[in-house]
């Protein structure tokens, strides 16, 4: 606050007299477009966790984070008390089994990042600063991806650290668990990128936050429900195809394909597709969604 210090000094020494210093210009550096994009990214990431916002806004992001951490903590605790007991959650099935919580986080926080800017027409101020419309879309996408990555990485890391630190021989346990690290980090990343792209594409198309949240929830839940019903009612190729309606199936398939093993809880293991199909679906959804978001912001009135 170097600019205001002389004012304070003058005020004290002159016993109440306030000197108007006049207007001070700014001759310092202007960091330009990249700094603007970075600022928008960090501000949006903070907004995803309601940092600096009211307590009410923190309920969903921190509540979901807690709900994701509890099963991981319980799993670790049980494993340390009775090492022989079968664990309900492991690295491979953790995210898929708790996908409803992840869906709620995404549905609540994707609109949090973008709806208000459109509804309150803050966009016109963003676009009149040193960034381009595409920069705005990509910074928001990166921030939402980072937020989903963080909330999914946290329980995976808790599982990892719990197993290492609570083991009888920490060094040996670390060596054993090290091989799981690609899955610990990779699975959250595989979930975060398509989920962020897809939910942001929906949220970008309406200034109404409630509509966006409703639409995202609907796609996840209705898709999962349809996949469940059709999975029971049909068989063969039709059943396999119907499972792709569950947004989390391609994510689990991609995880299985790239960093993990099949899990019995997921329809993926019962499907007759080569594993790359899931990766291709996840990639296609990501690219189409990101393109739709960028297209939307290039054209949206500001």
């Amino acid at each position: 606050m170097t600019g205001s210090e002389p004012a304070v000094a003058a005020r004290q020494s002159a016993s109440g007299a306030i000197y108007d210093l006049g207007y001070q210009g700014y001759d310092g550096p202007r960091l330009g477009r990249r700094a603007a994009v970075a600022t928008l990214f960090w501000a949006s990431l903070r907004a995803a966790f309601a940092l600096g916002r009211s307590g009410r806004a923190k309920i969903v992001p921190w509540g979901i984070t807690a709900l994701l951490l509890i099963p991981a903590g319980v799993t670790v605790a049980i494993a340390s008390l009775s090492p022989r007991a079968p664990a309900a959650f492991d690295y491979d099935n953790f995210l898929f089994n708790l996908s409803t919580l992840i869906a709620i986080f995404v549905a609540a926080q994707a609109p949090e990042l973008v709806s208000s800017d459109q509804r309150n027409r803050v966009l016109s101020l963003y676009f009149s600063h040193a960034l381009e419309r595409t920069d705005y879309a990509l910074a928001k996408l990166a921030a939402l991806t980072a937020a989903i990555f963080l909330i999914t990485l946290a329980p995976m890391l808790l599982l990892f650290l719990g197993r290492v630190l609570l083991a009888a021989d920490v060094v040996e346990a670390f060596g054993d668990e090290l091989g799981q690290l690609p899955q610990v980090i990779g699975a959250p990343l595989i979930y975060a990128i398509p989920l962020a792209a897809f939910s942001l594409a929906i949220a970008a198309f309406t200034p109404r936050r409630a509509y966006a949240t409703g639409a995202i929830i609907a796609v996840f839940l209705v898709g999962a429900a349809m996949a469940g019903i059709l999975g029971d009612a049909t068989s063969g190729p039709l059943r396999d195809l119907s499972q792709l309606a569950n947004a989390f199936v391609p994510l689990d398939g991609t995880r299985d394909w790239l960093v993990g093993d099949p899990i019995p809880d997921s329809p993926v293991s019962r499907m007759d597709y080569p594993m790359w199909v899931f990766g291709a679906e996840a990639l296609a959804v990501t690219l189409i969604s990101a393109a739709a978001t960028v297209w939307r912001y290039r054209g949206v009135e500001a």
């Binding site: 606050m1 170097t2 600019g3 205001s4 006049g22 207007y23 001070q24 210009g25 700014y26 310092g28 550096p29 202007r30 960091l31 330009g32 477009r33 700094a35 603007a36 600022t39 928008l40 501000a43 600096g52 916002r53 009211s54 806004a57 208000s116 800017d117 309150n120 027409r121 803050v122 016109s124 101020l125 963003y126 676009f127 009149s128 600063h129 040193a130 960034l131 381009e132 500001a302």
Partner: protein, 304 residues
């Protein structure tokens, strides 16, 4: 280098609406009034200058930078106050203006210092830590001005800065605009449909109508003496005018006032003598000045 340069600047929306129609102008630094009726193309012009809208044809430059190719470079040095609401209700003025300062490329520390500076300048004190959602319209307009000033722009574009303000709020906002333009030396374009406001704060006037440039000249040239004498009498204005015409003067009646052209000193004595001879009750004699309204009135008459 002119502040703003436009060459045959044209913007069409679809095939029917022409917002700007071959606008060509050069603007030098100062407080520039951009005046025109609603829908005359003022906002479109400002948005093109910011690089927010692409012109259909023609081109323009701001601070020597091309608006179609150097949008981000221009926007680092331009502050923009939109006509409409543009503030997030859940942030405080301090948080929001700091954020916008950083969006304009200021380092974090500088953004905080500049925010304190500009909020003081626009007259927001304790309330700057409260969420903007609870502000009055006047306070919101001040925040909008503060965010436009936070990065110490070389050019300010203000779109209807007194929109929605009561008369006292208008006075304060116009005072701020004038101070910003004169004391800080920041070149300013004020778009307004209210001629009176433009007249009060601006040094140069651009009048546009239907996307075309109507006039571009210093304000002084609009309000300079016209060489017309207004002679107001209790009654007998018609008779007085007839007498003066008889004596070879160019005189016409406007209500109770006789307007007399005064190319030299001679008419003053003749008016005095005529009024005295006829025994009329003289109310006042005054030099007439052009008002900005005449600019549009003359144009309407020309069109009619």
């Amino acid at each position: 280098m002119p502040l703003i340069e436009a060459r045959a600047l044209t913007k069409r929306y679809g095939s029917h609406v022409t917002a700007l129609d071959g606008l060509t102008l050069d603007v030098e630094p100062g407080i520039i009034g951009l005046v025109g009726a609603n829908g005359a193309g003022k906002s479109t012009f400002l948005k093109i200058l910011l690089g927010l809208l692409q012109p259909t044809s023609g081109g323009a430059s701001v601070l020597g930078l091309d608006v179609t190719r150097q949008g981000p470079d221009i926007r680092q040095y331009v502050g923009y106050l939109p006509e409409h609401d543009c503030l997030p209700p859940d942030l405080s003025a301090t948080e929001f203006v700091t954020h916008m300062g950083r969006m304009a490329g200021l380092p974090a520390g500088a953004a905080r210092e500049r925010t304190a500076e500009v909020l003081r300048h626009v007259g927001l004190y304790e309330e700057r830590y409260r969420p903007i959602g609870g502000y009055s319209t006047g306070m919101k307009q001040r925040v909008k001005l503060a965010q436009a000033l936070v990065h110490d722009p070389k050019l300010l574009l203000l779109d209807e800065p007194t929109n929605g303000l009561d008369p006292a709020g208008r006075d304060e906002m116009l005072g701020l605009v004038k101070r910003t333009g004169t004391e800080f030396g920041i070149a300013t374009v004020v778009a307004s449909h209210l001629l009176g406001e433009i007249e009060r704060v601006c040094t140069f006037l651009l009048a546009i109508d239907n996307g075309k440039l109507l006039r571009a000249a210093p304000i002084a040239s609009f309000t300079e003496r016209t060489g017309t004498l207004g002679v107001e009498v209790e009654e007998g204005a018609d008779a007085l005018a007839a007498r003066l015409v008889e004596r070879g003067l160019d005189a016409r009646v406007e209500g109770r006032t006789v307007l007399v052209d005064v190319p030299d000193e001679r008419p003053y004595d003749m008016v005095r003598d005529a009024v005295a001879d006829m025994g009329l009750a003289l109310v006042r004699m005054e030099q007439r000045r052009h008002r900005l309204e005449d600019l549009f009135r003359a144009d309407e008459e020309g069109a009619a």
